[in-house]
Symmetry: C2
Amino acid sequence: MEYIIDPKEIEKRSMEIISDLIGPLDNTVEEQAIIKRIIHTTGDPEYRHVIKIHPEAVANGLEALRQGSKIYTDVRMVLTGINKKKLAQLNSSVECGIDREDVIATALKTGETRAITAMKLFGEQLHDSVVAIGNAPTALFQLLKLVDEGIRPKLIVGTPVGFVGAKESKELLETYDIPYITVAGFKGGSAVAAAAVNALLLQL
Amino acid sequence: MEYIIDPKEIEKRSMEIISDLIGPLDNTVEEQAIIKRIIHTTGDPEYRHVIKIHPEAVANGLEALRQGSKIYTDVRMVLTGINKKKLAQLNSSVECGIDREDVIATALKTGETRAITAMKLFGEQLHDSVVAIGNAPTALFQLLKLVDEGIRPKLIVGTPVGFVGAKESKELLETYDIPYITVAGFKGGSAVAAAAVNALLLQL
């Protein structure tokens, strides 16, 4: 059986097929790159209809990443999915708190989840950073509480997934005047969050 | 805003909602657990219609994992997503070749992709193992060539994603008389592969 094996060629062809599948979009070219990469990652063209991008998300996200701002994630799968080669070129890095010893110890003491605890312990470090939440609605709710307290990430990629709290957490994110990339409804996940970040990284 | 924050409670409620959403299934309870966990992970009830489970997949997969068989993956995101606590309880482990030095060196020499090279270098180790391919169609095609040569994994979780080769690789997998879990069409990905493996692990 013959098939394309060059990863770059596969990706190029994939993006062409996605463009054909979803047809013209009203979004900017940079925003389209985010939408297409998420569809590339999920194999699901329906994302076209549910991805929500704040008008300043691309500019703010690119500026933050260009300046080497750190990326904070809720789960290790988002961290794993982010393009480390591009990050290194930009002198940036990515951190996940869920397995950190102080997070585990604090969560045991307070009875709060590790996802919530990690966001609290990151605290002011999240200011001017890029935060990518791909799994836990509770992490996104906690992050928005920090925003209420004056901590402003440059960009929030908020794509918690699932049927309990995820939709609500993303709807709440959309009410904030802070640059975000999110997904309406139940869909999302760590691969989606990583894809959104990578779509920005690949524009630098 | 009030929301459920206990992760176990979230998961239980989520599974109940998924059961209501997708209605009754013809599959066995164990197979349903796989289907529901994939939907839980993707937020996408449409997976109900595209997940394909070989009749011996659950029995073979559970047997392999119970015996501590190793899990091999194509990409680090699958490895990251697999439940390490359960793996440790079963004296099992998971390995990904994509970043291995010998894989990188061999791929540079042969000009083949690292995904293909990793499968080739795993070679006979894949016999009686669980192989979870969540990203690269080329890895799945290569694995099936090894099966042609007599190497038989106990279970192949094959859910490469995307628009170039993924669908074809999964259709080819379905023609093999080897226990598999796969997804028809474009959808899939590393989170889906990890979810399928975790659904089995959680039954042990």
